[in-house]
Structure formats: C-alpha cells, structure tokens
C-alpha cells in the first residue's frame, strides 16, 4: 500500500490523476527562491520558456541573464557570479548542459566549489518527439561521478519545486534533473523532501523484492507494485530522489527483508541510479539486481508512452524484472 506516513496523492491510481511536467516545479521553485533570496540569479541559453525560467526572468530582470546559444559560456559566467556570492542557476536541455559543457562545469563550478545549480531539462526518453539528440539519457552518469556533487531527480512537479528550493541551501554544485512531458502528481505539499534520504512510497510487511525508482518512473513502479499485490506478490517501492549523496542506511533497510532488487530509471542503465545502488550493495550486502532503463541504446522520436513500452521501461517490463529477480534469489 501507499506509505500513509508520507501523505501521498490519494488520487494517484485514479484515471483522472493530475498531471504536470516536473519542469513546472522548477519554474515555481526558482521564482520562490528569487523572492526569498536576493542573491539568487538565473541564466538561460535561449530556452527560457521551455525550461520555465521565464517566471523568474519576468519578475527579476536585473538578476536574469540571457546567454544565447552558448552553454559553456553560461556555465563559466555562472561560476564567476557564484564565486562572487551569488547562487547561480543555469538552465538548458541536459544534453547541452551538463552535456556539451561538462568540462566547463567540472572545472569552474564543481572543482572550483562554486555555488552553481545545473538544471538539466528534457531528460530521458520522456522528451519524446524531438528524438535521441534531445533526450538526455546519460546525465546522471556524468554528474554523479563528480566529487562532493549533489544529484536530485524529483518524481513529480511538487517534489521538483521542493528539490529546487532545497538545492539553494547547499553551498556547492547541485545537478537537478527535470522532464518535459506531463507526468502524474505522486506527492502532496505535505510529503517531506529531505536531501540525502530515500523514502519507501509503497510498503509491505514481507516484501519479496525492493524496487528503487527515480524521477517520474516512480509512477510506473508504483503501478507495477499495485498490480503485483493483486497477484499476491508483495514488493517495496523506494523513491530515490537524491542519487548523490546516496543514503546507505535507507537502502540497506529497504532491502533487509526482500534480498532482491529492481532499479527503474529513464536513463542508460550504465552509470545511472541503478549503478549507484549496485555499487553500494556490492560493498555491503551483494544481492541479485535487475536494471530497468535504456539497455545500451539510444531511443528515437515518438510519443513518450510509446517509447516507454518499446524500450522496456513500462509497468509490464518492471513486473517481468521483479519475477526474474525472484528466480535469481539464492
């Protein structure tokens, strides 16, 4: 059942569940930060409306900088602002930032310990019709490998707003991952968001498998859990909204009974959230793991829902992975 302590959206499994893109949560979170913190500045590389920086830009024009199509410049200008006391948010599609400007961010923001927040939009195949050029499916891998980095992947627009606001309390670089298309609202304003914590969203007394999901894919994991329960196969579903720093205690607790894991993300399986869980478990309590995500392939143009099915990320694939991993238990 849905974890009652987390005050999740009770309409989650209804046909008319509210939907909103996580980038909208970024936009409202950034606007809020602009209102409460005069040191917050925002930079955009010709994608101001698409990345929802427009609300901030309209209200605080003196703290907004339109950089044009120049992601490296955007990152390094932000670093200069940040080493001068600003909290600098840079915003673009994740394939370009932190993709194209990876080394610039590495040197001028991360190693330089500058207070830069990298908002990566259009992540995953959820980006849809734009095709693989614009579907960022490696961004978690290329940011979580940076020392002391924070990496947040919110599951819905409400959590996205909270994650955006929380990132401003960190004095070093944070990567924030958002998606383009509308996705179901899973949490409520009352649901806690704590940096560095994983949270069990679907609970069971005697789970056979633990599903770790990140981003909007959490919805599909929860749908799978509900259907599996009807098939008398109890599972846990854990929201991994903070991929780095990763909470060891919560992950070990969540796998203590099940002793088997499925990870679910809209990202390449190499280097993503599943990899980070596998690295942790390999060091502590090695367990069988199945990885849901892109399997060594780029995707293509299409409607998100079609792509999710074709590339094996949907509810059906998650349920099959759960059954596979049970067979691998020793």
């Amino acid at each position: 059942m849905l974890n009652p302590n987390l005050k999740l959206n009770q309409k989650l499994f209804d046909k008319d569940v509210e939907v909103e893109p996580t980038r909208a949560g970024f936009g409202t979170g950034l606007l809020h930060l602009g209102e409460v913190n005069p040191n917050v500045v925002a930079l955009s590389a010709d994608l101001t409306e698409s990345t929802q920086v427009n609300k901030f830009a309209e209200k605080f024009p003196e703290r907004f900088f339109e950089i044009g199509v120049a992601e490296q410049n955007m990152a390094a200008v932000a670093a200069g602002l940040a080493t001068s006391g600003k909290v600098a948010f840079i915003s673009s599609y994740a394939t370009f930032s932190p993709g194209k400007n990876w080394e610039t961010i590495r040197t001028t923001a991360v190693y330089n310990e500058a207070n830069v927040k990298i908002a990566g939009h259009h992540s995953g195949i959820m980006t849809g019709p734009d095709g693989a050029t614009h579907q960022a499916t490696e961004d978690i891998a290329i940011t979580r490998c940076w020392p002391k980095m924070h990496v947040y992947v919110p599951c819905d627009s409400i959590e996205a707003k909270k994650a955006t606001i929380a990132s401003a309390n960190i004095t070093t670089a944070v990567y924030l991952r958002y998606t383009r298309d509308k996705t179901p609202i899973i949490t409520t304003d009352e649901t806690p968001f704590i940096v560095g914590k994983v949270q069990p969203f679907w609970i069971n007394e005697n789970p056979k498998v633990t599903i770790f999901a990140t981003g909007y894919m959490l919805y599909y994991a929860l749908l799978a859990a509900k259907e599996l329960e009807e098939e008398k196969l109890p599972v846990l579903v854990v929201n991994v909204a903070t991929i780095k720093p990763l909470e060891q205690e919560g992950i070990l607790e969540a796998t203590r009974i099940s002793q088997a894991v499925v990870t679910v993300e809209d990202h390449q399986v190499e280097g993503g959230m599943g990899s980070t869980i596998a690295e942790l478990l390999a060091k502590t309590t090695p367990l069988p793991i199945e990885f849901i995500g892109l399997q060594d392939t780029f995707a293509e143009s299409g409607r998100p829902i079609e792509l999710i099915e074709k590339y094996g990320l949907g509810t059906k694939s998650i349920k099959e992975a759960v059954k596979r991993v049970i067979r691998r238990k020793i």
Binding site: V41, E62, R63, F65, I67, G68, A70, Q72, N73, A75, A76, V77, A78, A79, G80, L81, A82, T83, S84, G85, K86, A88, E103, T104, T107, T108, Y111, N112, E113
Partner: protein
C-alpha cells in the same frame, strides 16, 4: 583609478620584475621536470605592474570584498602569479619551492580553494573570460566599484568559449571588465600563426564592439598607460593586446616555443640566473 608611474617607480618595478623572473627560474628548477617557463617570464612585467602599482588589494585580507579582481585564464603560467603573490606578501617566498609538489597549496594549475588570493580555478583554456564576466556582473549587481582584470592567452583564443564571452561582455557593456591578452605567438605545438592564425585579431575584437589597445607588453610604462585608458572607457569592455616576448630576459629562451611547456635543467637555470642578475645590475645602475 591607477596613478601615473614616476621614473623612480618604473625603476623599482623593473627591479621587482627582474627578481620575479629569477624566482620563476628558481621555482621551476625544483618541480622535477614539469611546468611552463616561457609564459611566466614573458608576463613578469605585467604581473609586477598589477601587484605593485595597479591592483587595489590587501595581501593580508585576500577576500576583501572591494578588492580589484585579477583572474588568470591561462592557468598554466601560474608560476609568475605565485611569485608575484609571494613578493606581495600573500605567503612566504619560501613556499614557492612547493610548486607542483604533494601537499602544496601551489597546484600545478591554480586552484581557488587551495590558496587565498587565487580568484578562480583555471587551466582548461577558454573559461577565464566567462568567469571574469560573471564576477564583473556580480560587481554591477552589488554596486561595487572594483575592476575585473582577466589575463588570457593568444592560443586560448582558439577556444570557442572565449568568443562566446567576448560577445556577451559587449552586450552587457561591462566597462569595468578589462582583458589583457598575452600575445606572445607561441603555443605547445608551435607558433600560433601557423597552428591556427588569429589575425586580424584587433579587428576581430573591435567588430565585437570592444575597445582595443595594442602595446609592447614588456614595457611597464606603456602597460600602465593602457590600463589608465581602459579605466576611462564608459560603455564597453576593453582588451589590451600585450605583445610580449615569451621567455623574456633569458636569451636562449626568448621566442622559442619549445620553452612553452618545460622547465629549465639545473645548468640551464644557472645560465638564465646569471643573465638575469647581470640585467638587474644594469637596471640598478641606470639613471
């Protein structure tokens, strides 16, 4: 605003720059075979002018919020920055010999959080102008009157990022942003004009709506005059194109690109120091 330099001050600065060159040679002989020589020697006059005449700074309070900012984009010439900072009292001269050694604050390429007074981490080329731009923007938001000086190289103008920043600096009319390019025409693989020519360079910047001044970058008086001119500009950023001699002051290093990325061997260092000491005497005895 920077004051004029008197003849007595010029003499003092020339001696200081000569001492800086000697310290660069001594420092680089202790690095175990790595480090850059030509660039630091070529830029000794400009660094000396900055730390001992131009910059508003306090070596005992390196984070002073009203200090002028000096950003080094081409981080590989950091030996001269470290030497100037040590001469100016940021840290003991003795510490220079830790350059590139383990547990040192003097990283092979400068690191902001390792050493107070280093404004930003640099080394990967083409990023300093953008960072300086951000620092200048922050100064404008905060209504500070500091100048942001950024030192770049000719080779790094092959990086597209530099031109992204050049476009934006004029868009933002950042008149308190002053770029000094070390135009010494060498890079690792050879002469800049052969590797990837930049000319017509001044015209490029002028077409990007920058104010441009070209000088002999080893002439301290000319450099101070150029800085004074740049400080008067009210509606656009300025670039000072400083034509410098790489390896300046050491006859067998001057204008030879092979000295871009290697330190002197002990016998070469001895020869270099002898030349520099002879030059120091000449400066001291000149009227």
């Amino acid at each position: 605003m920077t004051e004029d330099v008197t003849p007595a001050k010029i003499k003092e600065l020339k001696l200081k720059a000569n001492q800086a060159r000697q310290l660069v040679i001594e420092t680089l002989t202790q690095t175990g075979g790595s480090g850059h020589t030509a660039g630091p020697l070529g830029m000794a006059d400009i660094f000396t002018a900055f730390y001992f005449h131009i910059l508003r700074h306090d070596s005992k309070n390196p984070d002073w919020e009203n200090r002028d900012r000096l950003i080094l984009s081409n981080g590989h010439i950091c030996p001269i920055r470290y030497v100037s900072m040590a001469q100016a009292g940021y840290f003991p001269i003795e510490e220079l010999k830790t350059l590139r050694q383990i547990n040192s604050r003097l990283q092979g390429h400068p690191h902001r959080t390792a050493l107070p007074g280093v404004e930003t981490t640099s080394g990967p080329l083409g990023e300093g102008l953008s960072q300086a731009l951000g620092i200048a923007l922050a100064g404008r938001i905060d209504k500070k009157d500091y100048f942001t000086y950024v030192l770049t190289s000719d080779g790094e103008h092959q990086e597209g990022n530099t031109w992204e920043a050049a476009m934006m600096a004029s868009k933002e009319k950042l008149n308190r942003l002053i770029q000094i390019i070390d135009y010494n025409n060498i890079q690792i693989d050879g002469n800049v004009a052969d590797i990837m020519p930049l000319e017509p360079f001044r015209a490029k910047y002028e077409s990007f709506n920058w104010h441009a001044i070209a000088i002999d970058g080893n002439d301290i008086n000319a450099f101070v005059n150029a800085i004074q001119e740049a400080q008067q500009v009210t509606d656009k950023p300025t670039i000072i194109i400083a034509h410098t001699v790489p390896g300046k002051g050491v006859s067998f290093m001057e204008n030879d690109y092979h000295w871009h990325g290697k330190p002197p061997k002990p016998e070469e260092a001895e020869k270099a120091l002898a030349e520099l000491k002879a030059e120091a005497e000449k400066i001291a005895n000149a009227n």
